[in-house]
């Protein structure tokens, strides 16, 4: 239902290339973003199944709230983008969805985040099990200093998915379009790959253990335009099987890949000069970029702010 038809994809890819070559990334006109966003076919509301439900979620570091009172639903087999200026807490929020924030000393999550109705922060929940189902891809490609094969097999071996290991590794590499590029050198070091290949390897590594949700924290921000486009195309393909949440600084990227977009901003007027990230608006991508309901969203997407 929600896949982009073939000609559309080619067009948006062209648009992407032009933009990248011109290096016009920020301050794009609203019309242009709208065009991109309008190509996203709206998803029928009835088909939506909620995977992650956030209810009044506040994440604080040592007492100060990085992001405050967020309530939103993440839908199954959708791409959901988090956009907003630096410091608005979008990465923090993303990292609370698979309990990676547990690793940060002093980080506290208030409110509830449920995954298919199960409270992720319930005392009986093992964060290891959460991360097994909700995978993550980071800003900078972080392959292990091991062979390409061992990188993809890493999670499989951890989780005892050792039957059909070769097959699973191949399948994960096929999904990310990396198979043809690396099939003859699976035993060589992953560090010899290019940045874009490394990032696709990291995505393959995350997919290999068959998570339901993949969180991506600015997955293309360290990559060149061509590699960025491959990642974006890949996200479009993965949507058929996975639920994806992506943080991005790049509004065009959100407009190109996301079905739903959440715009976050920094609320400086909060009590005693605190800087809290807040969720300003969450809507289908086309609506958010063409008909923003909130003046702050409009100011941001038209380039008057941020």
């Amino acid at each position: 239902m929600s896949t982009v038809s073939e000609p559309d994809r080619v067009e948006s890819a062209d648009a992407a290339e032009q933009e990248s070559t011109a290096e016009v990334v920020q301050n794009q006109s609203q019309a242009n973003l709208g065009e991109l966003a309008a190509k996203r076919t709206p998803v029928p509301v009835g088909d939506r199944e909620v995977v992650l439900k956030l209810d009044d979620v506040t994440v604080s570091y040592s007492g100060s709230a990085a992001i405050k009172a967020v309530s939103m639903d993440v839908f199954r087999r959708h791409v959901t983008a988090f956009i907003g200026p630096s410091g608005c807490g979008k990465t923090t929020l993303l990292r609370s969805l698979n309990r990676m924030n547990d690793l940060v000393p002093g980080a506290i999550v208030d409110g509830t985040i449920t995954y298919h109705g199960h409270d992720l922060y319930d005392a009986g929940v093992d964060p290891v099990e959460v991360r097994r189902r909700i995978g993550m891809v980071f800003q900078r490609p972080n392959p292990f200093p091991k062979s390409i094969f061992d990188n993809v097999a890493y999670g499989l071996r951890l989780h005892g998915m050792k039957d059909r290991l070769d097959e699973r590794v191949e399948s994960a590499l096929l999904k990310t379009g990396l198979w043809d590029e690396v099939k003859d050198r699976l035993k060589s070091s992953a560090l010899a790959l290019s940045g874009g290949q490394q990032q696709r390897l990291c995505i393959a590594r995350a997919l290999a253990i068959e998570p339901e949700v993949v969180l991506m924290d600015e997955p293309a921000s360290a990559l060149d335009p061509i590699a960025t486009q491959r990642i974006e195309d890949l996200i479009g393909e993965l949507k058929d099987d996975y639920t994806i949440v992506i943080v991005t600084h790049n509004m065009q990227q959100a407009a190109r890949v996301a079905d739903m977009t959440a715009f976050f901003s920094v609320d400086v007027s909060a009590e005693r000069g605190g800087r809290n990230g807040v969720l300003v608006e969450y809507a289908p991508t086309a609506d958010l970029f063409i008909r923003p309901a909130d003046p702050r969203t409009e100011a941001y997407v038209t380039g008057r702010f941020g």
Binding site: N98, M100, L103, P105, V128, E129, R131, R132, G135, M136, F138, R140, N142, P143, F144, P145, K146, S147, Y154, G155, L158, H159, S188, S189, A190, L191, A192, C202, R205, A206, I209
Partner: protein
């Protein structure tokens, strides 16, 4: 000279000598060459000093067991055994313990504990070895003699190592004192190594649903394995060369005993205890010969470490 258009390259100011750069180069060069020179001179001097003994005994010095100042018969076999045994046992016990401490302090301990416990470990490294040796004489030796050695003898007495009657000096207390001495060094280096593992990699592993231990075993330890080997070899070198603490607790025995309960001696210990009171030129030369052997042992340990480190780095695919 008019600044409206960019000046052509020919008008660039002439490159002037940079005294800071030149000075640094000279200083660093002198220091580097100086240290090489020092090692070479030192080796030459020690070999020169040892020459009468080398000329007299040749390589048979290495496996001769005699050490008799009266008859002028000298050999290093028992001392090589004492040095190798005490150092290797110390390293075998200290390495896993120290690496575990390093891991604990960098990854596992509650954050509030890390700094104070880390400081305590460093403090342990600062204890002068003679003080540690004193503790060995007063506390460790008697304790081993009364409580540990009789039991070891009961259970394992059929092995020559644990035969014989308990005493308060010997290879066992020496090995334990050395263990305590090298743990803090290896632990604090391991801690630094584990702290140097990129957070990206740790998170990458945890995000794949690994436990902390799985992350440590599969990512952190392989990442720093070359450094860990180097740290352990540093500890070994320290143990090989330690003279004071060892000679305080080892007993300085002149007769060989296979038992770790009996007095023995090491290369470094023998040099430290006899050099001043040496009664003949041959004895002095033989003590210098011991120093030559000790130098060679340290050199072999270091080269082995370098080879292992290089092999690990190759296996890691040029990760560094």
């Amino acid at each position: 000279m008019i600044a409206e258009t960019p000046a052509p390259a020919s008008t660039f100011r002439r490159r002037r000598p940079r005294f800071g750069d030149a000075g640094l180069r000279v200083l660093a060069g002198v220091a580097a060459i100086g240290s090489l020179l020092l090692v070479a001179l030192l080796t030459y001097k020690v070999v020169d000093e040892a020459w009468p003994s080398i000329a007299q005994f040749g390589l048979s010095f290495l496996w001769s067991e005699d050490w008799n100042a009266v008859t002028g018969e000298f050999g290093a076999r028992d001392l090589i055994w004492g040095t190798a045994f005490s150092s290797l046992v110390a390293v075998a016990i200290a390495a896993p313990v120290a690496i575990a401490i390093g891991l604990f302090l960098s990854e596992l301990a509650p954050r509030r504990l890390r700094a104070p416990v880390g400081a305590l470990v460093e403090l342990l490294a600062a204890i002068p070895s003679v003080v540690l040796g004193l503790w060995g004489i007063i506390v460790l030796g008697p304790f081993l003699q009364q409580h540990i050695e009789p039991r070891l003898g009961d259970w394992l007495g059929f092995i020559p190592l644990f035969s014989g009657s308990p005493s308060n000096v010997g290879l066992l207390p020496a090995a334990i004192v050395l263990t305590i001495m090298i743990i803090p060094i290896v632990a604090s280096i391991s801690r630094e190594l584990f702290l140097s593992v990129p957070g990206d990699l740790k998170q990458g592993s945890l995000a794949l649903g690994s436990t902390r231990w799985e992350m440590v075993r599969n990512v952190a330890i392989p990442q720093v394995s070359a450094g860990l080997v180097a740290a352990v070899i540093l500890g070994l070198a320290r143990a090989l060369g330690e003279a004071i603490a060892v000679s305080q607790v080892i007993g300085g025995g002149l007769n060989f005993s296979a038992s770790v309960f009996q007095p023995a001696d090491t290369l470094a210990g023998r040099i430290a205890s006899q050099y001043q009171g040496s009664t003949s030129n041959l004895q002095t030369a033989s003590l210098a010969y011991l120093a030559v052997i000790l130098l060679a042992m340290s050199l072999i340990a270091n080269i082995t470490a370098q080879l292992i480190v290089r092999r690990i780095r190759q296996r890691m695919g040029g990760a560094h």
